[in-house]
């Protein structure tokens, strides 16, 4: 009797289902275009996706649990690790939420507000450059990746000059900013803002009319407006579906109601439209920072809000004034005790609506902190968005959602 062939083919990531000719593919969590630790289980009908199950949690560090066991100032550096592409936007969203909880939003000095906004928009540029670089690399354009990283490096240098860190900035404090801008920083920023528009034109020259780029992006990943609302999409994922909602415009925080900028909207609802929006948003960020530079020069030098109950005094006061030192000691060892209540504060981060829900019971530790990270829903939408698309488009769609796993898993 002939022996059964023991050398059956075995594919680690494939399961063949003979009865309906469907094939199940495991995509990630170590896939280079999975943008972190995304695992997708794809049921394929030939080349087309029949079903998709995004599987997350590979980067779960329990940040909400950590927040419940840290005083407010301790938690701020942890927020860097959420959206690590643009860390300041997380720091800022958290700081703003705590400030609104304390009711000291109006007491933040104007110079701190201007510096924060410059940093936020600089982070938006960094994030969008990074997005374009990795997205183009996923789709197959290697040189765009290198060009984008060159410009991103200049922006990272600016961040490094300001706060000393390149990735985990912690450049914002509750109640203001810790440092003034270093000498010559604004001139370097100005230089960067002057070279960036021509570089954006360079990227667009490489991509916008590129036949391959258009074929890979146009009519791929179409999110109708109704679907975008259903899935709580925000940021460019929402504006890419023709809904002109920008939190900076609609619910202005900081000084966004004083600066002049446009909210670009795309009616095509596809990946190409979103790509256009990213490029336009970078230009708008440049425009915002250009308006902020003269505003900075008109401000008083105070950097942190003067609220001795919640926020430590200036370093000079701590070193010379007895009462300031005592306050500082209590605030560092015990932490501030915000009033009892709750607050939900949305901000427009580069990825979308980044919101912090904080429930305080009047103790130094938040009773509950829920971090509303935009990428969480932009990953969830994949299970409705991917079916019907080809496997090659899956990479494009993941790229155009601009997800970051630090904030999905938290």
């Amino acid at each position: 009797m002939q022996q059964r062939n023991r050398l059956e083919p075995y594919f680690e990531n494939l399961v063949f289902e003979r009865d309906d000719n469907h094939m199940v593919i495991n995509f990630g969590p170590q896939h280079p275009s999975a943008h972190g630790q995304l695992r997708l289980i794809l049921e394929m009908d030939g080349e087309q996706v029949a079903k998709a199950w995004p599987d997350i949690g590979y980067l779960h560090r329990g940040m909400e649990k950590m927040a419940e066991n840290m005083i407010y100032n301790e938690f701020l550096p942890t927020t860097d690790r959420m959206d690590y592409i643009a860390a300041t936007s997380n720091n800022y969203a958290f700081a703003l939420a705590v400030e609104r909880l304390l009711g000291i939003e109006d007491k933040v000095p104007r110079r701190a507000k201007v510096i924060r906004m410059i940093l936020l928009e600089l982070n938006r540029i960094i994030s969008h450059l990074f997005w374009l670089a990795t997205h183009a690399l996923d789709v197959g354009a290697m040189s765009v990746f290198l060009y984008c990283f060159r410009e991103r490096e200049y922006a990272m240098d600016l961040m490094e000059d300001y706060c000393g860190a390149r990735l985990t900035h912690s450049a914002v404090r509750i109640g203001g900013v810790p440092l003034d801008l270093p000498e010559g920083w604004l001139e370097r920023l100005n230089w960067f803002l002057n070279i960036l528009p021509e570089q954006i034109e360079l990227y667009e020259g490489l991509l916008s009319e590129n036949r391959i780029w258009r074929m890979r992006l146009e009519n791929v990943g179409v999110i109708p407006p109704e679907m975008a609302k259903q899935w709580a999409c925000s940021g460019i994922m929402l504006r890419g579906s023709g809904i002109p909602y920008d939190i900076r415009k609609e619910e202005p925080y900081e000084l966004y109601d004083e600066v002049d900028f446009d909210v670009p909207v795309s009616e095509t609802c596809d990946s190409y439209g979103r790509y256009k929006l990213y490029m336009e948003e970078m230009r708008q960020s440049i425009r915002i920072i250009r308006q902020l530079i003269p505003m900075y020069k008109e401000t008083e030098p105070q950097l942190l809000a003067h609220v001795p109950e919640y926020i430590s005094a200036h370093k000079e006061d701590i070193m010379t004034q007895n009462y300031s030192l005592m306050q500082h000691f209590v605030l560092v060892t015990q932490g501030m005790r915000p009033p009892v209540g709750e607050v939900y504060v949305p901000t427009e981060s580069p990825k979308g609506e980044l919101g912090f829900y904080i429930r305080s019971e009047g103790e130094p530790y938040p009773y509950r902190m829920k971090i509303r990270a935009p990428s969480f829903w932009h990953t969830g939408i994949l299970q409705d968005l991917l079916p019907g698309h080809y496997l090659a488009d899956v990479v494009t769609i993941i790229g155009s959602t601009n997800i970051v796993f630090g904030e999905i898993d938290r």
Binding site: Q334, K370, F376
Partner: protein, 263 residues
């Protein structure tokens, strides 16, 4: 005597509390905003609202947990609150034996946000709102994963962040912050026996710790001794770094080349 630690809340607590300090409260303002007032009046005609107030610019309404789906459907279809931006729970089991569930809604036309809150007992389930807001699919899974709150009629109520076989729900206040002693010595007890605990010693968990007796893991830079030699023996002397060596003794800014930022 060991201090008594309540088992129903194992989270970090302030070690000092002023006996006479009363925490201030964020004011719960009456609903005077015209948009919110109109929405609230319309809602009150159809559903009983337990409490409604404005806190930090957002309308908060407390409803009965059994009516969550109808209220959210009304808010979406009649009042235009078309985005469910967030949904989660708060653990009040220690105080009241209840969970508080909140739904954070946004109206894109009005640019207004409402928070709908309701309370359920520990073993009660809540009705899924996934059929109204698709985004609730994942947030309800996360709520189930983190708090163990069952959601009725959910299409796929599985854990989302934690592994499928995980025991316990991490965001409950009863969930411990550290493993216990048995967990700490698990491998040592299992492999060698309890009597070896002293010899092997506890696991080193401090990332910044540098073992001064370590002779091979860069613990003694510039005081290197031969591998496995007595750490107190004479360190290896390097007479002089020659110019080719890739060590940098001191960083001389004047010699360093600065990349021209102006090109």
């Amino acid at each position: 005597m060991r201090p008594y630690r309540p088992k129903d809340n194992l989270q970090a607590k302030a070690y000092y509390n002023d006996r006479f300090w009363v925490a201030p409260r964020i004011p719960e303002e009456p609903v005077e905003d015209p948009v919110f007032a109109a929405d609230l009046a319309s809602l009150q005609e159809h559903y009983p609202i337990q409490r409604a107030y404005i806190q930090r610019g957002q309308l908060v309404i407390h409803i009965d947990a059994k009516e969550n789906k109808e209220v959210l459907r009304y808010l979406k279809e009649e009042l235009g609150y078309d985005v469910l931006s967030e949904l989660s729970a708060i653990d009040y089991l220690a105080q009241d034996g209840e969970f508080e569930i909140f739904y954070q809604l946004l109206s894109l036309e009005k640019a207004k946000r409402i928070r709908v809150k309701c309370r359920i007992k520990e073993h009660e389930a809540i009705e899924s709102v996934e059929s109204i807001f698709r985004s609730a699919d994942w947030s309800e899974r996360e709520m189930y994963d983190m708090f163990g709150i069952k959601v009725n009629n959910h299409p796929n109520l599985k854990r989302i962040l934690m592994p499928d076989d995980w025991v316990g729900h991490p965001l409950r206040k009863t969930y411990p912050l550290h493993g216990d002693e048995a967990a700490q010595w698990y491998e040592v007890d299992k492999i060698f026996g309890k009597e070896y605990r002293d010899i092997i010693g506890p696991e080193q968990r401090d990332a910044a710790f540098v073992d001064p007796n370590d002779t091979c893991n860069f613990a003694r830079i510039k005081h290197e001794v031969p591998r496995c030699a007595d750490p107190n023996s004479e360190p290896i002397r390097i007479e002089k770094f020659n110019d080719d060596a890739p060590f940098v003794e001191t960083f001389d800014l004047k010699k360093a080349k600065i990349v021209n930022r102006d090109r």
